[in-house]
Symmetry: C2
Subunit: 354 residues, 2 copies
């Protein structure tokens, strides 16, 4: 639009900027920091010059003068899993609302200490972890942060030693789901990809067991898993393969509970391609309540992670810890998930294993 509105030299310091405005550096500094005792005309002159030049004080020099960096380090396990990215997006948004910047790094399993070192060298005010990390590794990173008086928060990975945590109460989510399915008359359950030593998996299993126990049912008798039959993937294809394996069995469960939505949708496709109707013949439930729940027919029943609530709680937590002495004991807060019933779950078929 505008060709060349003036000399437009690059201004790199308050000194240069002050000479551009025609004021002393100290005066400009006082204007920038809102000190009293300045003529309105002077303030306006500076503000106009800022508009013209787009001058911004060097954040690095500011911090050197003791100002907080107002930067939060965000450590992601990866940027490829949809729920984690959603949390990142919401976290970034909330932090920006509260005038904080986000310095994002990806720390893959076995990743080096470099990432934490970088956070420390950038003097971030706190570090937030999102994803599922190797417990031993993340615990060591957090110890390192604590020795540097840098607050931290782990989102959605319960059980890291010494770690302040905000995590989804997966056990309660599964209890709720089981209560719902049991109420529909289901008594035999197929578990899809809910295997492994990870805490998040163990929590789910505990919730399933508790849900069954509330109806006087035993875990071993009522549940079946064929996870071992295929290479573990936790994705769509794995779900489809598991479904087909279940179809090949004699007594197929009437309800299926999946590790996540991808596996659930894959399983639905598997059942459907084998001629089973969902939910008339089998019910299927996912986990995470991602957008893809709306993609298959029928729409997938799932458990919502309550990402907004989780992130909101997390931001409050982590910002409140900045500049404070570390807590004597880690603060752990659990978020209640929410069952979202859609069309993939329904009453148990009557004449089945009778």
């Amino acid at each position: 639009m505008k060709a060349a509105p003036g000399p437009k030299r690059v201004i790199r310091s308050t000194a240069e900027f002050a000479s551009y405005v025609g004021l002393a550096r100290t005066t400009v500094s006082r204007v920038l920091n809102g000190h009293p005792g300045l003529k309105t005309q002077t303030v306006q002159r500076v503000q106009q010059a800022i508009e013209e030049t787009g001058f911004t004080p060097n954040a690095y020099a500011l911090h050197l003068k003791g100002k907080r960096t107002a930067t939060i380090g965000i450590c992601m396990e990866n940027l490829l899993t949809a729920p984690a990215v959603l949390k990142l997006a919401e976290l970034q948004r909330r932090l920006r609302e509260r005038s904080h910047a986000s310095l994002i790094e990806v720390l893959p399993p076995g990743g080096s200490r470099e990432v934490i070192r970088h956070f420390l060298s950038m003097r971030v005010d706190a570090v937030v972890f999102i994803g599922h990390f190797v417990e031993e590794e993340i615990a060591r990173r957090i110890d390192e942060l604590m020795t540097h008086a840098t607050p931290h928060l782990v989102i959605d990975q319960r059980g890291v030693p010494h770690a302040d945590t905000v995590a989804l109460d997966r056990a309660s989510g599964m209890r709720e789901l089981m209560a719902y399915l049991l109420g529909l008359g289901h008594r035999s359950f197929g578990l899809l990809a809910i295997t492994g030593a990870a805490r998040s998996v163990q929590d789910r299993l505990a919730g399933i067991e508790a849900g069954l126990a509330a109806h006087g049912l035993g875990f071993a008798e009522c549940t079946r898993s064929l996870d071992h039959l295929h290479a573990r993937q936790n994705d769509f294809e794995y779900g489809r393969a598991l479904a087909l394996s279940f179809v090949a069995e004699k007594n197929i469960p009437t309800a299926f509970v999946a590790l996540n939505d991808e596996v659930a949708i894959g399983a639905m496709h598997g059942f459907q391609s084998a001629g089973l109707r969902v939910p008339q013949d089998v019910s299927v439930a996912g986990f995470n309540n991602q957008d893809i729940c709306l993609m298959p027919t029928p729409l997938l029943t799932s458990i919502d992670q309550q990402i907004e609530l989780t992130v909101n709680t997390s931001v409050d937590q982590v910002l409140s810890q900045i500049g404070r002495p570390p807590r004597p004991h880690p603060h752990v807060e659990m978020i209640a998930p929410k069952l979202v019933v859609r069309d993939s779950t329904g009453p148990a078929p009557k004449a089945k294993s009778a």
Copy 2:
């Protein structure tokens, strides 16, 4: 694990660190910067102390001494569209490989200048834009960056004035797709959500037209669009609704080309639920080649964005511009997309509109 291996006081400067090691600050500084003329034993003593304390020099003070910040600002339109996030992930990874940090901000449409101001105040070495921005807005941001001698790069939004750009050649992708479909005998095409003034849409239309023209066919006669019949959404549901509207018409096209994979998959579901077989009755092609192409039955033919190549090129571009005088003319580089043929496209049905 370890209880308290020493005093573990927080070390905030080379001075404190030097007194911890028992050396002069200047000596420590020389070790840290790899100067010659130091006893091996001294170097080791410092390195060991770094291991013990995790000391890191203040990046802010470093920059103040003229060192580059080695930080790239990444400006995202949002963090909710899968392809954009994939680019972000790859970009972050590449930059980290090249020892650069990523400062990520989200700039929604109509967003303020704050974001650019923040980048400038953080003295980022360059700014990369990912997403589809309002052309006028992004052009102004880039002008502002240029007056501050900060290089920039726009990824995948062709046509921003004065902007260095690396973008997907959507026209050529569509040409290739059309050549493929025409080769299969298709002569009537349904366009799904390819409407609007956005350059990325216009490029596709131009590619479609060119593809048809290469076979001596006219755009108006061979293509049909019903986008106006439903509220524009560019998602799964929109695709499904469009498909059902096409089914309700008299002469349904034999091949469908969609704006993206979501719309394509939605359309496939729509056709299938109306009793049409894919690809026997209608062919459907998506765009972006996201993971979800593997979710429906049949697997979706799509056009791959070549994200790795795009990002790789971008990183080379942007890093090479750091510290250099701005180019006289913007550098625009086009990336050739790649047609990925799967199962959703096949020969045109024979006894159709004859």
